[in-house]
Symmetry: C2
Subunit: 365 residues, 2 copies
Amino acid sequence: MSENSKTLRFGILGCANIARKVARAIALAPNATLCAIASRSREKAEKFAAENGFPASVRVYGSYDQVLEDPCVDAVYLPLPTSLHVRWAVMAASKKKHVLVEKPVALDVAELDRILDAVESNGVQFMDGSMWLHHPRTAHIQRLFSVPHSANSVGPVRFIHSTSTMPATPEFLESDIRVKPELDGLGALGDLAWYCIGASLWAKGYQLPTSVTALPDSTRNDSGVIVSITASLLWDQPNQTFATIHCSFLSHTSMDLAICGSNGSLHLRDFIIPYGETSASFDLTLGAKFVDLHIGWNVRPEEVHVANELPQEALMVQEFSRLVAGIRDCGSKPSTKWPEISRKTQLVVDAVIKSLELGCKPVCL
Amino acid sequence: MSENSKTLRFGILGCANIARKVARAIALAPNATLCAIASRSREKAEKFAAENGFPASVRVYGSYDQVLEDPCVDAVYLPLPTSLHVRWAVMAASKKKHVLVEKPVALDVAELDRILDAVESNGVQFMDGSMWLHHPRTAHIQRLFSVPHSANSVGPVRFIHSTSTMPATPEFLESDIRVKPELDGLGALGDLAWYCIGASLWAKGYQLPTSVTALPDSTRNDSGVIVSITASLLWDQPNQTFATIHCSFLSHTSMDLAICGSNGSLHLRDFIIPYGETSASFDLTLGAKFVDLHIGWNVRPEEVHVANELPQEALMVQEFSRLVAGIRDCGSKPSTKWPEISRKTQLVVDAVIKSLELGCKPVCL
């Protein structure tokens, strides 16, 4: 262990763009430190380390295996293409490294289960890279669901709508990793819908939907990878809830989340990446009615601001590191919360794929 | 004609709640005046006239026929239950009365065509009561679509999402006119989805969708009337566009409209009834990108305010009266714009019903 046993020492496997953001988050988190970076070539890793101003203490490796063999590395972050996750996550776990895996975690739940089996049998912590779940805004909103029948609660959730869209260039649609069948075969369903499915499940307290249906607008690139997808999730019990998600590389940037309950509604326009780093807001409308003659409303949305001391990705790293410290220093078991969230998200991803294969028929879960 | 030949003299057939709003709109519109009100009983009509402070000049009738026989009445407004529209709209047209019909216009397009045939053969103006189309905000937003490839345009529309929801009481769900099979058999699909379908068509310049699909969450009351419905509209050409609509009597009040193009997006939270009477706003986001490291956005939504001198329902009455003045004073033909909008909306309503009957299969238009 390092001098400070509270500090989790990270190795990063791969030099993807997202690794820059997470390397910064590791530097910002008070209980984590970056100690190794690897690429498939040492040259590329050195360039990445220099460009991102990593301190000289960060070891630079020309292969992923070297990070896993490094006894100073406590945990690895995997920003690799999805098709490589199962191999490297399983191997990392077998080397007793805790694993923070970029989303989507796997190409299907069978692959994900191989990862989860490996982390469980090796007693290491697992978490996927869904950063927005760690923003204090998320916890703040969650409290608005927790008291189902109060005037300050949105009440039982009836409808959820979310989007994750970005306008890709023609080059992206042809050749970016996220739409290459051999690298990220899930395309927009993995890269974008992971968030919308995750938000829908979160709004329902991680109850799995009764059925999942792909809608008839999915679009694929020339290689057959999904570049645009809409899907719906239906919960039958205890109250019927319906969610629509729309994810696309063909639209202007959007990250909308609207949740409508029986007594109120919530709207976010930046739920995945907040507009700014130090606070985020959402609009809350409670008990809205029309005034007499229906010529206006009795209330307008209230903009609620939630400050955050650290960016959400640093909070994610901090939470992951806190869990590992609990395992290491207090003999805690790895938290099952995060693997369960990932697994439920992946189950819905799989159901969307199956519904597409069935010509957009509902798939029961 | 009245002294002022520019003033359109309205008769109202029925004393529904919505008639109070439209009577006020007729009073506010500079080119219209209320001259008659009828109910099925004279007593009820008198009570309605007194409660709403109608001037003594307004004739009060105990039957709808009397309004249609009154030579002083130029036009009628029909706030009756939908199942009665065809009978009274056709009869009004045959008496050469111009007709402003509350939405939904009819139970199906066959009924609507009977109305449109009658107004056409009698040379009278037709319009449905979709008030939001007459707000200057609507025209303002429309200009943002009109230049498809400019930095100030949202670009070709890719995705549209709209809602119209309100929390009905158990009594409403059992016995309100809007969920009675013999009165408003379309339920939420007629009362609420008319707006969302209309907004989707409007955003696509009234191009009919290629296909319409009901989603698997529709809910009916004990009488079999739809109280909650979600549906999707797909346009194949020239650019693929997808729209989802969600309409329900089982949720908190919402009137969301989000339109996402290739270069920008628009968000309204009050598209059907603006929060206030003198201005309305929308949020516009153009050219949004993430900043370096994806730790925030380069732009935030701009709140655009649009002032209106008259409430949207008065602007609707004013526009209707202007069209009639053109027919009467300048020999213009009745405008076909408004009947066409109503007919396209009704065609999509019919397609949703058909899709429901087919077990949520897509219905081509």
